[in-house]
């Protein structure tokens, strides 16, 4: 269970959140929504332990993140950052195997590591590309391989920063189903920064809305994802469309 207590976050010249209290339970899938620059990524980094600064604390299973040894924490919490670019000349399989670092002892690669990497590649539909070098992949394929590395890391909490970037519509749905399944069937916890309100409404059960004035609303997706809230969030007039699959909003 992830708990933030009286969390304060600021960047130079701006307070991103004040006294945030939030509890995220196993099996839950949270969307983090907000305008550009509202602090979604900073908040995600604070909740995942990438950023230890800021008063107030974040704890995982009752223990402050700062008290975990690094590799222990990496077995609990995995992060898919926004693409930082990479200097990697090896193959797709070698790349995904790096996700096993928190489990590695000594120099070798265990059979368990190989199984985890192969299974992760299958789950994102990239098994056939295992022997290709990373440089030969398209942007969307590379994003799926990045997701595969995170699956190989097999954390309890998945922190995803715009996991759908570069993915086509079909692969967006597939990626979200994958994480939804990890939450529902294996009790993993998922936090994701999203811009797609349609997907947030369909695949997430909870949401965090980061308003521009530093106010943060947290609650169930059903409760928070309303036309009124989203118009205020994105400062843009919206029109709601209802379909069988759920509700979505388009600019008015």
């Amino acid at each position: 269970m992830l708990r933030a207590q009286r969390l304060n976050l600021s960047v130079p010249g701006k307070t991103l959140c004040r006294d945030l209290d939030v509890v995220v339970k196993p099996g839950e899938c949270w969307a983090i929504l907000g305008r550009n620059g509202s602090g979604k990524t900073t908040l995600l980094h604070a909740l995942s332990g990438l950023r230890m600064a800021g008063s107030g604390g974040v704890s995982w299973d009752g223990k402050p993140l700062a008290d975990y040894p690094r590799r222990d924490l990496a077995r609990q919490i995995g992060v898919l950052p926004q693409d930082e670019g990479h200097e990697f000349w090896g193959t797709v399989l070698e790349y995904v195997l790096l996700g096993r670092y928190p489990y590695s002892r000594g120099f070798g690669i265990s059979g368990e590591d190989e199984d985890a990497a192969a299974s992760a590649l299958r789950q994102v539909g990239m098994a056939e590309m295992a022997g290709r070098t990373l440089a030969t992949l398209s942007g969307g394929e590379r994003q799926r391989v990045r997701i595969a590395m995170l699956l190989a890391q097999a954390p309890q909490l998945y922190c995803l920063d715009e996991p759908l970037q570069h993915l086509d519509l079909g692969h967006q749905a597939e990626a979200l189903r994958l994480f939804r399944r990890l939450a529902a069937e294996e009790g993993r916890t998922v936090l994701m920064v999203l811009h797609e309100t349609l997907w947030a409404g369909r695949f997430c059960d909870h949401a965090l809305l980061l308003y521009d004035n530093g106010e943060i609303a947290s609650g169930t997706a059903a409760e928070l994802l309303t036309g009124e809230n989203l118009e205020r969030l994105y400062q843009c007039g919206l029109r709601e469309l209802s379909t069988e699959g759920g509700r979505c909003w388009v600019p008015a």
Binding site: H45, S48, G49, L50, R70, R71, D72, L73, A74, R75, I77, G78, V79, P81, E84, G85, H86, E87, F88, W89, G90, E94, L98, G99, Y101, P102, S104, F107, Q153
Partner: protein, 325 residues
Amino acid sequence: MNSTLHFPATWLVLTVVAPIASVVTGLAFGSVDLPLGDVLRALIGKEATLVTDIVWQLRLPRVLSAFACGGLLALAGALLQALLRNPLADPYILGISGGAAVAALSAMIFGLAAAAVSFSALGGALAAVGLVFALGFSRGGNMVRLLLTGVVLSAGFGALISLLLTLAPDAQVRGMLFWLMGDLSQAQAPGPVWGILLAALGFGWWQAKSLDILGLGELKAHSLGIAVRPLQIAIFFAASAATAAVVVEAGTIGFVGLIVPHFVRLLGFSGHRRLLPLAALAGGCFLTLADTLARTAIAPQQLPVGVLTALLGVPLLLFLLSRKA
């Protein structure tokens, strides 16, 4: 590249055949060419002949120095390419050679002995390392700032070097140019460079997986459980020690540190556990051969080895790049 069939042969050549061949070549050729059999006999037996003297007293120390220096340069290049996440990084990119050169050339202008020149080169290298570290890593610095700090300091040192060359008496300019282009003729004590080579290689091998992960970006590395900043500082100092050792031993030998890691990558070895030892071996072979050529091409006159590393290395890498593309 077909990995299953291709690798054992490449591997064998890089780790066994090329090192032995380059060392033996370095021992056999010089201002006097020695028959291969005599060289091997001199290496095994210890009867006091002229050949034994040439091999043990003159050529072996220089060949071993060249090998270690080449290994150190390739290793430093590979480490800095990982640290800065920049394929253009070479051992001199952070200004270590510039600092050493300014100090060494100043010592030469004052007419100090060779040992004192080496000593001031060491002082200059350490001062540059300290300066780059203090400015580049201060206030939670990032690698872009580290890189820019190094490049800016290099440019500053470059201007000072030009100034020193202009001010120096004509008689000394030639020696200074040799030093600047890299010259192994003073390298007679391979012990220290080998010690640093083995230590740096041990460090790199130990941290190989972390180095691979660092290439994914700092955030990802952090999230996988890497202590990013301490690792970056350790790489910085390992690469600096490797570079400083070479600069003190042999001046600034260009291209080895930039080209050899890419050469090994283009052969298909990308993970640092393989890349670092293979780059060290390939760098050693390359510099040993280049130095042999520098001693023999227009013997008895010697050429600066840095010129030959560029003349040999540039076409080789261009060929590999064009073939791969």
